[in-house]
Amino acid sequence: MTTPLLTATGITKDYGATPALRGVDVRVTEGEIVAVTGPSGCGKSTLLHCLSGILRADRGSVIFRDQDIGSWSEAARSRLRRTEFGVLFQFGQMVPELTAAENVGLPLLLAGSGRREARQAALDWLDRFGVADVADQMPGAMSGGQQQRCAVARAMVTRPRVLFADEPTGALDQLNGEQVMQAIVRTVREEGTSVVLVTHEAPVAAYADREIVLRDGAVDPTGLGVAAP
C-alpha cells in the first residue's frame, strides 16, 4: 500500500451553529489526484481549506509528512502553503498591477529568491503552460483562460508536493476549462505532485484518480459522485 502524503482524520468544522464538516477522513498519496465532489454547501471548499491549513479544523487532525499541521501557528501554516503546497482558486488570485511573469514569480520572491532568478523560473513555467507570450502583460489584458493558466503556473512555481485547486475551471468555458485541466494534469504527473481538486463538474472530476463525495459535511459512503458513470 502506498504511504499517504496527507492524512486527515475526523475533521470537524462548524461555522457558528452551522456544521460544515462532520468527522471527515481523507488520505492523499504521492502523485495522486483526488477529486472532492458534492452538491453546493456540502463542505467541499471548507474541507480543502482545512487540508491546506487555510482554516484550522475544530476537531480532528491533518497530518502532512508525519506532522499534525492543525496544531501549527498561522505563520507556520502560511510558510507551508508557500513552500510545500500550491493553492489555486476559481478567480481573484492574480495581482492586477503585476505582469504575468511577476505574478508567477511572486512566491519565489516571498521565499527569498532574487528578482532575476524568480523571473527566469516564471518564464519557464509560463512556457510550460503555453502562455509565455503574455509574460509581460497585465492580467487585465489577458483572457480568462490565460489568467487561469498563469494562476496554475504560480501555484506550481515552487514545485509544491500538494496542489489544492478549488473549482479551478469554474469561471471558464468548456474548451478553456478542458485545456486548463489537461495542462494541470500533465504537469502534476511530470512533477509527481498530489492534487486535491474541488469541483462540481463531472468532466473535471473525471481527470481524478479517485473521487470523494461529500454530503451534508460527511463523506457519502455510496461514493456516487458527479464523475460516476
Binding site: 487555510i54 502560511s78 508557500r82 481573484g92 511577476e102 520572491l109
Partner: protein, 507 residues
C-alpha cells in the same frame, strides 16, 4: 430622470452606503459651520481709519468691543477669513474622499442601474447626487450648529466686550451662498473623483493611462512662485491697487498648490518606478507596481494635506520673517537709545501662529480623509489580498506593501510642499533691514525752518538675514509623517480584516 427618482436611486443602498452618506453629511456640516464663521467675520464692520474734514483722524466704530485684535483690526480680518476658508478645504476633501467609501457595493448597484437602462451620464449623476443630497443635509445641520454655537458662545464681558463676533449676523446673500457652496463644491469634488470612471452594465471600470504622468506640474510651481513675486516687483515701479496686488499673490500661491498636488501624481509614479526597478523583495515589487498603476491616488488622497502643508511652509516663512523683523527693530531701538518695544512683532508672530494652528487642524482632518481612502483601497482589493494570504503570503509582506504605498509618495511630496510654501515667502524676503533713514534738522533750532542751514542725520542700519526655520519645518514634516504612520497603522487593522478567506469565494 425625475428629481424624485434621482433622489430615490442616490439614497438607496446598504449600511456602508448609509455610513458614507452620514460621513459626507458630517463633513459638510463641519465645512458649513466653518464657512458661516468666515461669513460672520466678513460681516464685522469698524476699526477702519477715517479722516474728519478738519483733518483729525479717528477709527470707525463697530469693532472696538472685541477683545481679539484679529477681529478689531480691519486689516487682519481678511486673514482670519482666509484662515477659516483654508480650514474648509481639508474638510471638503474629506467629504470628497467619502465618495469612495463602500465603492465595490455601490459600483455593483450603479452597474445594475445601467443594466436597467440608465445612460452613463445618469449613472454618474446618481453617484454625485448622493454626495450633493448628503451635503445639503449636512449644510442644513451646519446652519443649526452655527446658530446653536452663537447662543452658547455669546458671553458679553465687562463693558459689553466680546471674544467672538456673536453680535453680528451675516447678510442673507453671503449666508445662503456659504450654505450652497458646500454641496456645490462637494459635488464638484465628487465629479472630479468620478473622472476616468466608466459605469458599464457589467461593472465600473477605472480607466488607466498607459503612460505615466509627466513632471510638467514643476513648471506650474515655478510660474506660481514667479507670479507671487510679480506684485512686489511691480509695486516698486508703478502704483498697484490692493486688489490686483492680492489677486496676483493669491493666484501665484494657488498655482503652487495646484502644481504640488498634481505633481504628486508624477512623484508617486516615479517613486513606484524606482521601487520596482531597484527594490529587491516582494514588498517593493507589489508597492511599486501599485503606485505605478494608479499614480493619481496620491494626488487624490494627499491633495488636502499637501495644500495645508504648502500654506504651513509659507506661514513658517512669514513667522521667521516677523521674528527677525522684531529682533532687528529691537536692535535698532537700542542703537538709537530707545527701549525695545516687546509688542513690535509679537502681534504678527501670534497671527502666524494662529495660521499654523489652522494648518495643524487641516492636517488632522486630512488624515481622517486619508484613513477613509486607505480603508477603501484595502477593502476594494480584499479578494486579491485574501488570495495572496491563502497562497501563503505573510501578513507582514502585505502590511509592508501598504506602508510603502503610503510613505513613498508622501515623504517627497511633503518635502516639495513645504519647500514650495517656504520658497514663496523667501523669494520675497530673505533679509530684514531696519533704519538707514535720514533726518534733516536746522543746525540752529531758532532759525527759519525754510531757509536755515541743515544738518543731515543718518539713522543706523540693522540688517539681519531671515533664517530658514529648520526646526519648525522638521516639526511640521515629522508631525505629518507621524500622523500618516498612525493612519497606515489603522489601515493595517482593516487589512487584517480584509484577508478573510471567505472573500475568495465572494462573487
Amino acid at each position: 430622470m425625475r428629481p424624485a427618482t434621482l433622489f430615490r436611486l442616490s439614497t438607496a443602498g446598504t449600511r456602508t452606503d448609509t455610513l458614507r452618506t452620514v460621513l459626507t453629511g458630517t463633513s459638510a456640516a463641519l465645512a458649513g459651520t466653518v464657512m458661516l464663521a468666515a461669513v460672520t467675520v466678513a460681516a464685522v464692520q469698524g476699526g477702519e481709519p477715517l479722516e474728519q474734514p478738519d483733518g483729525t483722524a479717528w477709527l470707525a466704530p463697530g469693532a472696538e468691543h472685541y477683545t481679539s485684535p484679529l477681529l478689531r483690526e480691519p486689516g487682519l480680518r481678511p486673514g482670519v477669513i482666509f484662515g477659516l476658508l483654508l480650514l474648509t478645504l481639508p474638510v471638503l476633501a474629506l467629504a470628497g474622499q467619502c465618495i469612495r467609501l463602500g465603492a465595490p457595493a455601490r459600483d455593483r448597484r450603479l452597474a445594475a442601474i445601467r443594466l436597467a437602462g440608465a445612460t452613463p451620464g445618469q449613472a454618474v449623476l446618481i453617484a454625485v447626487a448622493e454626495t450633493i443630497v448628503a451635503s445639503i443635509l449636512g449644510s442644513a445641520a451646519g446652519l443649526g450648529i452655527y446658530l446653536g454655537l452663537r447662543r452658547i458662545l455669546h458671553e458679553p464681558g465687562p463693558g459689553g466686550s466680546l471674544r467672538l463676533p456673536t453680535d453680528v449676523f451675516p447678510d442673507p446673500v453671503p449666508l445662503v451662498a456659504a450654505l450652497l457652496a458646500v454641496p456645490v463644491l462637494a459635488g464638484l469634488i465628487g465629479l472630479i473623483m468620478m473622472r476616468g470612471v466608466a459605469v458599464t452594465p457589467l461593472g465600473v471600470i477605472r480607466r488607466q493611462r498607459g503612460r505615466g504622468p509627466r513632471p510638467w506640474p514643476g513648471l506650474a510651481i515655478a510660474v506660481g512662485i514667479l507670479l507671487f513675486n510679480v506684485p512686489v516687483w511691480l509695486s516698486d515701479r508703478m502704483v498697484l491697487s490692493g486688489y490686483v496686488f492680492g489677486a496676483l499673490m493669491l493666484a501665484g500661491a494657488a498655482l503652487v498648490m495646484v502644481g504640488v498636488v498634481v505633481g504628486t501624481g508624477w512623484i508617486s509614479y516615479t517613486a513606484g518606478w524606482l521601487l520596482h526597478r531597484f527594490g529587491r523583495g516582494p514588498v517593493t515589487l507589489l508597492a511599486g507596481r501599485r503606485m505605478m498603476a494608479d499614480p493619481w491616488n496620491g494626488s487624490r488622497t494627499l491633495g488636502a494635506l499637501l495644500g495645508a502643508t504648502v500654506i504651513g511652509g509659507a506661514a513658517m516663512g512669514y513667522h521667521a520673517l516677523f521674528v527677525t523683523q522684531g529682533r532687528a527693530e529691537d536692535r535698532f531701538s537700542v542703537l538709537i537709545g530707545m527701549p525695545p518695544d516687546p509688542e513690535h512683532a509679537a502681534f504678527y508672530v501670534n497671527a502666524t501662529r494662529l495660521v499654523l494652528i489652522a494648518v495643524g487642524a487641516g492636517v488632522a482632518v486630512s488624515a481622517a480623509g486619508m484613513l477613509v481612502a486607505l480603508a477603501e483601497s484595502v477593502v476594494s482589493r480584499r479578494r486579491t489580498y485574501a488570495a495572496l494570504t491563502a497562497a501563503g503570503t505573510p501578513g507582514r509582506t502585505l502590511a509592508g506593501t501598504l506602508l510603502w504605498q503610503t510613505l513613498a509618495p508622501l515623504v517627497p511630496a511633503l518635502g516639495l510642499a513645504v519647500v514650495s510654501g517656504l520658497v514663496l515667502v523667501r523669494s520675497l524676503y530673505h533679509e530684514v533691514t531696519v533704519g538707514g533713514g535720514t533726518t534733516e534738522t536746522c543746525t540752529d533750532p531758532a532759525a527759519d525752518p525754510d531757509t536755515c542751514a541743515r544738518t543731515v542725520q543718518t539713522d543706523p542700519v540693522v540688517t539681519l538675514p531671515v533664517p530658514v526655520p529648520w526646526e519648525q519645518l522638521m516639526l511640521l514634516c515629522g508631525g505629518t509623517v507621524l500622523t500618516m504612520l498612525v493612519v497606515a497603522g489603522i489601515g493595517m487593522l482593516v487589512l487584517r480584516g480584509s484577508t478573510d478567506l471567505e472573500e475568495i469565494r465572494a462573487v
